[in-house]
């Protein structure tokens, strides 16, 4: 037991170090080249200069948002994969992102963002997400029991329905609105409103703390619902609360940053390979790993072919997907060799 705790602590330190390193790397690199020396000087005494502004008004907010969104998405991935005992579930499986997307699309098509300001976009997205959460939840509760498989199926169907609805909206919308919709769907960590970034940060950390209260329940649920019940877990209550935490956090992330794929699917698997299946460590390390991964991907997205900026989803998909396939095949080869 002692040994395991030491092992966990070491991993948390390693992941935190990795996260800090990526964040610093991301702060350092950009289309405006600055030497390390210069950056130090700018940080210490350069307040009010152009470089200071680039570091703290342009690069830093993106890093913070990357931390919040990346952490949230992979945390949600762990919770949902654990709850459903299904390795393919990710934050976008339950149709919540589809609801957020419809909210945002309607906002753009009806020009609410021009009348009420750009902040109305995430608000509409969040409302759309909440509608879907309520819908999925109420459809899956039968006689006071939350049916996990039903939840999954309803969620998948709702996400299909919503993607069809989005296509419908896109087909009948004006060309200039179409651009706004496409941008939003591609996902981006560029957010002009600093207050919103701070709120996302708080929400992601609150999500981590709240879900950590259920780490024992998640461990028990991994054995199966009945087994968990015999272990003395209040299965119904934990399922419900976990679903609510995960879905509200999904709605939040999606409405701020749009749809950034793959983080919530792949990072939990990677982390599981490294630290094991115990949710007591898995939740925290996934959060840290996801944050580092998304910050790194965003840095690459904005620098690879500068001055053109790629959608961050391109990088997360390419890097995450290929790295995962590589790890999987290697593992199989190692098993065969044995």
């Amino acid at each position: 037991m002692r040994k395991r705790i030491i092992y966990w602590v070491v991993w948390i330190f390693v992941l935190t170090g990795l996260l800090l390193a990526t964040a610093l790397f991301s702060l350092y690199i950009g289309s405006v080249g600055m030497s390390l020396n210069k950056i130090l000087r700018v940080i210490l005494e350069g307040k009010g200069t152009l470089e200071y502004s680039i570091l703290f008004d342009i690069r830093l907010p993106r890093i913070i948002l990357g931390f919040a969104i990346g952490g949230s998405l992979s945390l949600i991935g762990v919770i949902l994969q654990g709850m459903f005992r299904n390795p393919l579930v990710e934050p976008y499986t339950l149709g919540i992102s589809g609801g957020a997307a419809i909210g945002v699309c309607l906002n753009i098509v009806f020009r609410l963002n021009r009348a009420l300001g750009i902040l109305s976009l995430p608000v509409c997205g969040f409302l759309g997400a909440l509608c879907v959460v309520v819908l999925v939840y109420s459809l899956s509760v039968k006689k006071g029991v939350l049916k996990i498989q039903g939840l999954l199926l309803t969620g998948v169907m709702i996400s299909f329905i919503s993607s069809s609805l989005i296509m419908l909206i896109m087909a009948v919308s004006r060309t200039e609105d179409l651009h706004g919709i496409v941008f939003w769907i591609m996902g981006s960590l560029e957010e002009p409103n600093n207050a919103l970034i701070l709120i996302s940060l708080c929400a992601s950390i609150a999500g981590l703390i709240l879900s950590y209260l259920f780490c024992i329940d998640l461990n028990a649920l991994a054995l199966g619902e009945e087994e968990a019940m015999h272990l003395g877990i209040n299965v119904e209550r934990s399922k419900r609360l976990l679903f609510i935490i995960a879905s509200v956090l999904t709605g939040f992330s999606v409405s701020v940053a749009g749809i950034i794929g793959f983080v919530g699917l792949v990072v939990p698997h990677f982390v599981r390979v490294v630290v094991g299946r115990d949710h007591r460590i898995l939740l925290v390390s996934s959060f840290l790993g996801g944050a580092a991964f998304l910050i790194l991907c965003d840095t690459l997205a904005r620098t690879i072919i500068a001055p053109v900026e790629l959608p961050v989803g391109v990088i997360t998909g390419l890097m995450g997907g290929s790295a995962f396939v590589y790890v999987l095949t290697r593992k199989q080869m190692l098993l065969k060799a044995k």
């Binding site: 200039e176 941008f183 001055p307």
Partner: protein, 272 residues
């Protein structure tokens, strides 16, 4: 003494007037870049997008992204005092620039020729070339009126301008491309369509005399062949299917607009 005061006022007036005119402009749209060159302020244009390829000199300017997504850091580091955006630019980026204290002016997609002229005048005012802009607009308006006069009493052919295939996208009435047809003496069959996605059946029913296909990322040759298969189409029967370069149609200035109308008039009324 009096003269001294007047001279002083005159000089300060000049100084302040100078200060008002932006000296470091970044353009985020091909049409804006074209217009700035037309107004003769290309020296003050410090950067544009990778889509700004007309006039060819514009390609040599610093690039800050595509016409839709820009590299904020790059824009900011160039210290512009005026950023001219189109409504295609991601709103979050322009908002962020405004928060950083940079003056951003956004031009929406023009709905007709009138809009194009209005925006051009506005642009002229912003960069301190109001008179030049007025002159160019007046000249364009006169030329446009002349062409309209010429084609007024001629037979009005029915026209379809196709700006996209799969799905078939037609230029509708609330898009400035509609004015090319009307000014050149034609009838836009898609004028009253609410959405820009159009169906082939409707095209067959309306039976246009002329079909103009723009090269907006479509396999144009193939698209022409598809239309030629429909023998009942007047455009196919009389071989009136044309392909036109997208750059000539989209991103217009008043000047290029008139040139394109002329070209259209030749297509629609070859006898004249």
């Amino acid at each position: 003494m009096k003269i001294g005061i007047i001279v002083f006022l005159f000089i300060t007036h000049l100084l302040f007037a100078q200060e008002d005119v932006p000296q470091r402009i970044i353009s985020l749209g091909p049409s804006i870049t074209k217009a700035l060159y037309l107004l003769g302020v290309q020296d003050k244009l410090i950067a544009n997008t990778i889509y700004c390829i007309y006039p060819p000199e514009a390609k040599k300017k610093e690039r800050v992204g595509t016409a839709q997504k820009l590299n904020l850091e790059k824009v900011y580091s160039l210290k512009p005092d005026l950023v001219l955006a189109t409504s295609l630019v991601d709103q979050r980026s322009t908002e962020k620039l405004k928060n950083l204290g940079i003056r951003v002016v956004t031009f929406s997609t023009p709905r007709d020729f009138n809009d194009i002229c209005k925006q051009f005048l506005e642009l002229g005012r912003l960069v301190g070339k109001e008179n030049e802009a007025k002159e160019i607009v007046e000249r364009a308006e006169n030329e446009a009126a002349l062409i309209r006069e010429k084609v007024k009493n001629l037979y009005k052919p029915k026209v379809l301008i196709q700006v996209g295939a799969r799905p078939l996208v037609a230029a509708t009435g609330n898009y400035f491309v509609n004015d090319y047809i009307e000014f050149a003496g034609g009838i836009n069959i898609a004028k009253d369509a609410k959405e820009s996605i159009y169906s082939r059946e409707r095209v067959l029913k309306e039976n246009p005399d002329v079909i103009i296909i723009t090269t907006m990322g479509i396999a144009v040759g193939e698209e022409r062949k598809i239309w030629q298969k429909y023998e009942i189409l007047n455009a196919a029967k009389f071989n009136q299917i044309y392909i036109i370069d997208t750059d000539k149609i989209t991103s217009p200035t008043p000047q290029s607009f008139v040139k394109t109308i002329e070209e259209f008039a030749h297509i629609l009324h070859p006898e004249k």
